[in-house]
């Protein structure tokens, strides 16, 4: 028993050494330098909305432009959801361990937990942040998030989605670890005519710490 435990540990050490050669560690504080109120595709176009979804989007945009009340879930302190949390204009702490990559947004201390080499729960309830599993493709962390509710907006402008949303992210580091890139692919056949992608970039903020913020109905973010 002792021998097998020892050899197992040595094997694990060897595997960990091999793995760490390819996989970067994202631990640190990151922030996207630009606020993205209106999400566009990588080509700068409006995402390919189906007619019903386009009508919802147009109404939200028009209502906000006209100064009317819009029902942005953030105005009620509801969660950003995914991918909107990924371009919230606040610092984001990543805690990266072997089994999990945890993303903690300063905004309303919201967090996502990404389980590495795991599977989605079979009976997963719809969630604001969905269920996220990740795997490594070389130095890129590929995250698939699904099992969403349909209550969040994809951006401040009011881009809608359904509970059929599936988000695939390819997260990698650049500039010698000073920048992080998240290429986000959005697949939601009830809302969009085709999957589409957008890219968010982050700068590392060394030495910074998250401050405590809280969104309550009396204290909006």
């Amino acid at each position: 028993m002792k021998t097998s435990a020892l050899s197992g540990a040595v094997l694990a050490l060897a595997l960990a050494t091999v793995a760490s050669a390819a996989e970067p560690n994202f631990t640190g504080i990151w922030r996207t330098p630009t606020f993205i109120p209106t999400l566009k595709t990588d080509k700068g176009a409006l995402p390919p909305l189906r007619p019903e979804a386009a009508a919802i989007y147009k109404k939200r945009v028009a209502d906000r432009a006209a100064g009317k009340k819009v029902d942005d879930p953030l105005d009620e302190c509801m969660p950003h959801g995914v991918p909107r949390l990924m371009y919230a204009p606040y610092p984001m702490l990543i805690l990266h361990t072997a089994k999990q990559v945890n993303l903690i947004q300063e905004a309303n201390h919201s967090y996502r937990m990404i389980y590495i080499n795991s599977v989605h729960p079979e009976d997963g309830d719809p969630k604001w942040f969905g269920s996220a599993v990740g795997h490594w493709e070389g130095a890129t962390l590929v995250v698939e998030t699904t099992q969403f509710n349909d209550k969040t907006w994809l951006d401040k402008a009011g881009l809608p989605h359904s509970d059929q949303l599936k988000v695939t992210e390819r997260i990698s580091m650049g500039a010698g670890g000073k920048t992080l890139v998240d290429r986000i692919t959005i697949d939601d056949p009830k809302t969009f005519t085709a999957p589409w992608s957008t890219t968010v970039r982050y700068n590392k903020l060394p030495g910074m710490r998250l401050t405590e913020t809280a969104c309550t109905r009396d204290h909006k973010m």
């Binding site: 435990a5 197992g8 302190c77 072997a98 937990m113 604001w128 710490r209 809280a214 309550t216």
Partner: protein
């Protein structure tokens, strides 16, 4: 931890030899008396990574409420109360006593107390440590982070830092951790007086200093958190409270959105319980 040796092996990174020896000891403990007591934490005692759940040890003994000053008899069976580790009333100052009485009198009459968590503010320290939901510890170089299921609270514990003399006042306060042998010592200052210790409103001021000592107990199945509270505004002398966190590698943190109020349900009598 022989339930899933593959998963365990993946945890082993640097100190392979030491970890293997600990793993062996952990397996033995589980074969023996540890099995009945719960899941055994195998491996480096300084590696606290994983999920915990506050145990009944920290839960209010409802008799205690009933007996308090002879008032009652409405016990608060779902409440977590942080009393002294030898089951006594904390040594209130007049200020502390007045605040406590106002809150307690409300609590035993099922009236809402001034509880910031009902407004979706962070639970604050020390209350978050006895909140009856899972908590995950994530360890990264130089920092221990506690991620709580309830209201997605997060507590940051940088290691070996000097705490500010005039901390910014926040619900969770500012913390620094260090190891003394196999005991994790965490000092916390700047925890807002808006937060309360527990569900009957045991109070503190902004001047509270908390020193926690966390160590493995019960054959490495539980983490004991002995908390020393120093608060000259609310208490005449330092006192010690105790929480016990069971090691729960079998559960994962799930989503909790306070703002949606999707986890607490009220019955016809208006009693709110965790679902």
């Amino acid at each position: 931890m022989m339930r899933n040796p593959t998963k365990l092996a993946l945890c082993v990174t640097a100190a392979a030899l030491a970890a293997a020896v600990s793993m062996h000891h952990g397996a033995q403990a589980q074969e023996g008396e540890g099995r009945a007591a719960g899941h055994v934490h195998a491996g480096d005692p300084h590696d606290l990574s994983g999920v915990y759940f506050v145990t009944e040890a920290a839960q209010l003994n409802s008799d205690r409420t009933v007996k308090y000053n002879g008032r009652g008899p409405k016990a608060l069976p779902h409440s977590r109360v942080l009393w002294t580790s030898d089951d006594k009333e904390p040594p209130f100052t007049a200020w502390g006593k007045a605040k406590f009485d106002a809150s307690f009198n409300g609590a035993i009459n099922n009236e809402p107390i001034a509880d910031p968590s009902t407004d979706c503010l962070p639970h604050g320290m020390p209350r978050i440590m006895i909140a009856p939901y899972p908590m995950q510890i994530v360890q990264t170089p130089g920092q221990i982070t506690m991620m709580f299921e309830v209201n997605h609270n997060v507590r940051y514990i940088p290691m070996n830092r000097v705490l500010p003399r005039n901390p910014k006042i926040t619900m969770m306060g500012e913390s620094s951790g260090h190891w003394e042998g196999d005991t994790l010592v965490i000092e916390t200052v700047g925890s807002s007086g808006k937060s309360i210790f527990d569900e009957i409103g045991t109070p503190h001021s902004d001047k509270l200093k908390i020193t926690e000592r966390l160590r493995w107990i019960k054959n490495n199945t539980q983490l004991e958190d002995l908390m020393t509270f120093e608060d000259p505004i609310a208490y005449t002398k330092p006192w010690v409270g105790r929480a016990v966190l069971a090691w729960r590698p079998d559960i994962q943190i799930t989503e909790y959105v306070c703002e949606e109020n999707n986890r607490n349900v009220s019955n016809a009598d208006g009693k709110t319980t965790a679902r």
